[in-house]
C-alpha cells in the first residue's frame, strides 16, 4: 500500500533521507522510530508529496505520489502531532469542510457526528467552535477526518505526543481496529511503548537511513528499547 523505493532527499547538501526502501502492506502498523532529524517526517512528507524526492519513488497504492499528487492523497489520511483546524468553525463544520474537500460531500450531520463520536470527541463538543478545544479534542477531530475519509493508508506523525494516557490508549485501539479493516498505517513516533503496543513492525532510522526492521511479534518491550538504544549509540 505504501512503498518507498530508493527514496532520497537532500536539502542544501544535507542528506535528510538516504536511499530508503520501505513497504507497508494493508493491515500493517509500521512504526518509524528515531531521534529528531532522523528523516521520519521527511518520509511522511514525501508520501504526501509535500516534498519532492531527489531520486527514487514514493508509491501509494502502486501510484507515484509525485506524479499523481491529488489522487494519492485521496487514498491517504494524515494526522500530525498537532491537528490544525479552523478556530471560527465548529467541530462538525471543520469535519464537513475537510470531508467535502476530500471528495465526501455527501455525509449527513448524523454521519459526521458519528465519526466524531467514534474518534472519542465528547458529546457536547461538535457544535462548539474549535477555538475552545483542547489539543486532545483537536486530535480527535483529526482522527474523525481520517475516519470519514475512508483512507486506505494512514500517515501519522507523532500522533499521540501530548495526549493523556487514556486518550493515547483509545487512539491505539482505534488504530488496531482500522488495521483490522485492512488499512495500512505508517506512524512516526518516539513512543516505544505505544509502538510496541499497537505496531506490527518497526523500522529504526538514524540520519536519514533505515538501519533495521523488526517484527513486533518477535521482540519484547525491553528488547525493543535495547535495540533502539544500541542503534542510537555513536
Amino acid at each position: 500500500m505504501l512503498q518507498a523505493i530508493n527514496l532520497r532527499k537532500t536539502y542544501d547538501g544535507h542528506t535528510a533521507l538516504d536511499n530508503l526502501n520501505l513497504h507497508v502492506k494493508g493491515g500493517e502498523i509500521y512504526c518509524l522510530l528515531g531521534a529528531n532529524g532522523a528523516g521520519k517526517s521527511t518520509t511522511i512528507n514525501l508520501f504526501l508529496s509535500f516534498l519532492q524526492p531527489c531520486s527514487g519513488q514514493a508509491l501509494v497504492d502502486g501510484r507515484s505520489a509525485q506524479a499523481h499528487p491529488l489522487e494519492t492523497k485521496r487514498a491517504l489520511a494524515y494526522i500530525p502531532e498537532i491537528v490544525m483546524l479552523y478556530r471560527n468553525l465548529t467541530g462538525i463544520e471543520n469535519l464537513r469542510y475537510f470531508s467535502t474537500l476530500a471528495g465526501h460531500a455527501h455525509y449527513s450531520d448524523r454521519e459526521l457526528i458519528g465519526f466524531l463520536r467514534r474518534a472519542g470527541l465528547p458529546e457536547d463538543a461538535p457544535h462548539r467552535r474549535v477555538g475552545g478545544y483542547s489539543k486532545g479534542m483537536r486530535q480527535k477531530v483529526g482522527i474523525a477526518i481520517a475516519l470519514a475519509k475512508q483512507a486506505k493508508a494512514l500517515l501519522l506523525d507523532e500522533p499521540t505526543s501530548g495526549l493523556d494516557p487514556k486518550a493515547s490508549n483509545e487512539f491505539s485501539s482505534l488504530l488496531t481496529e482500522l488495521s483490522g479493516q485492512g488499512v495500512a498505517v505508517l506512524m512516526a513516533t518516539h513512543d516505544l511503548f505505544r509502538a510496541k503496543e499497537s505496531g506490527t513492525r518497526a523500522g529504526i532510522m538514524r540520519q536519514g537511513r533505515l538501519l533495521t526492521e523488526v517484527a513486533m511479534s518477535d521482540i519484547g518491550h525491553a528488547d525493543l528499547e535495547r535495540l533502539y538504544l544500541d542503534f542510537m549509540r555513536d
Binding site: V83, A102, A105
Partner: protein, 483 residues
C-alpha cells in the same frame, strides 16, 4: 469544490468581528457619502436651475440699450452636472462651475471651492467614489492578506492539502468568498445609491441624462474590474510573501503608493514635463496680442486709423458715414474676431498642454490602477477635465454667437450714423435679445467618453489580466512549506 471552499471562507469572514466591523464602517461611509452627495447635487441643481432661469430673464429683460452694452452686460453659463456627479465629484472642486460670457473676453470659469480650501481638505472630501477607490481596496487588502499566509502559519494549509484538496480550487474559492463578502456589502449600498439617484432624475435636465444607463453600467463594470485587481493582487501577495505580516506590509505599501504617492507624483511630473504658463503670464500675453486689434473706441490709435482707412478703401468711400454698415459695428466685430484668434492661440495652447498632461497622467495608471479608475469614473460621471473643457468650449461658442448677433444688429441698424450716435443713441430691444437662444450644453456621449479613456480602460484590463495570470501561476506552483 470552489463553491464549498467559498462558502466556508465566507462563514469564517462573517464570524470574524474585525471584518464585520470594518465592513460595516465602509458600508456606512458609502451610504453617508452617497446621501451627502445626493443632497449636495439636489441643492446645486436647484440653485443652478434657478440661476439659469434668472440669467436668461435678466438678459431678456435688460431693457432698451445699445447692442454693444448688452454684449458687455453678458450672461452667465452654469456648468451642468449629470446625476452621477453625486457619486463622483471628480475635478469639480478645481475646475469651477460658472463662466461669465461677455464682449471682448474669454473668461475662465470661477467659483472653485478648491481655491478656498487648505491642502488638508484634499484628503477630507468624502464621496462615494473615494470610498470605492480607496476604502474598499483597503478592506480587500485586510480581508485577503492572511488568506493563504495565515493558513500556512497556522498549519491548516498542510492539513487541508493533505486531504487531497486542489490548491487551485482553494485559491479561487477564497477569491470567490471575498467577492461574495463585497457583494453583500456593496450591492445594498448600490441599490440605495441608485434609488437616491433616481429621485434626482425627474428634476434633471435631459441634456445631462445622455446615455446615462449605459454610462452607469460601464461605471459599475469598471469598479468591478478595479476590485477584482485588488482581490487577485492581495491573494497573490498572500501566497508569495513569507508571512502574513510581510504580505500585509507589501499590500499596504502598494495601496499607499498606488492611491496616494503615484497620483500626486504623476500630477507633479506631468506639470514638469509639460509646463503651462502661469495665469499672469497668460493674461499678459493675451492682453499684448489683443492690443494689436483695431481699438474701436480709441479714434486716435494707429490701429484704429489703419482699420478705418482699410474699410474706406474696401468700400470705396471717403467718410465713415458713407459705409454700408456703421463703422463702430464693423470695428467692434473686427476687434472680436481678432480676439477670437488670440484666445484660440493662447487658450488653445493651454488646453493642449492640459491634454498632454492628462495623457501622461493616464499613462501613469500603468503603475497605479487607482489613477486609471479615477480617470474612468470621473469621465463617466461627467466631472473630469474633458467635460469641463467641453463646457468651456460650448460657452465660448455661445459667447461668439452672442457678440456677433449684437454687432451684426448694430452695424446694420446704424449705417450712416456717427460713431457716437451709433454706439450711444441706438437702442436694441427684447426682440433683439431674444435672437440669442438660451445657453444649453449636451453632456458628452458614452462613445466620446470611451474614446477619451482608451488608455485607462486598457490599463485596467491589463492589470486584471496580468494579476490573474500571476495568481494562476502562483496557485499552480504553491508549496505547503516554503522550501
Amino acid at each position: 469544490m470552489i463553491w464549498h471552499i467559498a462558502r466556508k471562507e465566507f462563514t469564517e469572514i462573517t464570524r470574524d468581528g474585525r471584518f464585520l466591523w470594518s465592513s460595516l464602517i465602509v458600508a456606512a461611509l458609502l451610504l453617508l457619502s452617497l446621501a451627502l452627495g445626493a443632497s449636495r447635487y439636489a441643492d446645486e441643481s436647484e440653485l443652478r436651475a434657478a440661476a439659469v432661469r434668472e440669467t436668461r430673464q435678466q438678459w431678456l429683460d435688460q431693457g432698451a440699450k445699445g447692442p454693444h452694452s448688452a454684449a458687455h452686460y453678458g450672461v452667465y453659463a452654469f456648468k451642468p452636472a449629470t446625476p452621477l456627479a453625486l457619486f463622483d465629484p471628480g475635478m469639480n472642486d478645481y475646475t469651477g462651475i460658472v463662466t461669465m460670457l461677455e464682449a471682448h473676453k474669454e473668461n475662465q470659469a470661477s467659483y472653485k471651492p478648491a481655491q478656498d480650501a487648505t491642502a488638508l481638505q484634499r484628503f477630507g472630501d468624502l464621496s462615494g467614489a473615494m470610498v470605492l477607490q480607496l476604502l474598499v481596496p483597503l478592506l480587500i487588502v485586510l480581508l485577503c492578506f492572511g488568506m493563504i499566509s495565515g493558513e500556512r502559519e497556522e498549519g491548516t494549509l498542510r492539513q487541508l492539502l493533505s486531504v487531497g484538496a486542489d490548491q487551485r480550487d482553494l485559491i479561487w474559492g477564497k477569491v470567490l468568498a471575498v467577492a461574495m463578502v463585497l457583494t453583500l456589502l456593496l450591492v445594498p449600498a448600490a441599490v440605495v445609491g441608485g434609488l437616491i439617484a433616481a429621485t434626482q432624475l425627474q428634476a434633471a435636465d435631459r441634456h445631462d441624462l445622455i446615455d446615462l444607463p449605459a454610462k452607469t453600467a460601464i461605471l459599475a463594470g469598471a469598479y468591478l474590474v478595479y476590485f477584482g485587481i485588488f482581490i487577485v493582487v492581495s491573494m497573490s501577495a498572500s501566497i508569495l510573501m513569507r508571512s502574513s505580516s510581510a504580505a500585509l506590509t507589501m499590500l499596504m505599501a502598494f495601496w499607499i503608493v498606488s492611491g496616494f504617492l503615484l497620483p500626486r507624483a504623476a500630477a507633479d511630473i506631468s506639470r514638469l514635463v509639460q509646463p503651462t504658463p502661469s495665469a499672469l503670464e497668460l493674461s499678459t500675453a493675451v492682453a499684448r496680442d489683443k492690443s494689436k486689434g483695431p481699438h474701436p473706441h480709441e479714434v486716435n490709435h494707429p490701429n484704429h486709423i489703419a482699420f478705418r482707412d482699410e474699410m474706406l478703401r474696401k468700400y470705396g468711400v471717403t467718410r465713415v458715414e458713407e459705409l454700408p454698415y456703421s463703422f463702430i459695428g464693423l470695428a467692434l466685430q473686427a476687434d472680436e474676431e481678432h480676439g477670437f484668434k488670440v484666445f484660440d492661440k493662447y487658450y488653445g495652447a493651454l488646453r493642449e498642454a492640459h491634454d498632454r498632461q492628462n495623457r501622461l497622467q493616464q499613462l501613469a495608471g500603468l503603475f497605479s490602477p487607482y489613477i486609471a479608475i479615477r480617470s474612468v469614473s470621473a469621465a463617466l460621471s461627467g466631472t473630469d477635465i474633458y467635460f469641463f473643457q467641453d463646457f468651456a468650449a460650448a460657452g465660448e461658442a455661445y459667447r461668439r454667437n452672442l457678440v456677433r448677433v449684437m454687432n451684426d444688429d448694430l452695424m446694420r441698424r446704424t449705417a450712416g450714423q456717427s460713431n457716437y450716435a451709433a454706439e450711444w443713441q441706438y437702442r436694441g430691444n427684447k426682440e433683439l435679445w431674444a435672437k440669442v437662444p438660451p445657453f444649453d450644453f449636451d453632456a458628452p456621449s458614452l462613445g466620446t467618453i470611451l474614446q477619451r479613456n482608451v488608455t485607462p480602460l486598457i490599463v485596467l484590463a491589463l492589470w486584471l489580466v496580468a494579476s490573474i495570470a500571476l495568481l494562476r501561476g502562483l496557485a499552480r506552483r504553491m508549496q505547503v512549506e516554503r522550501q
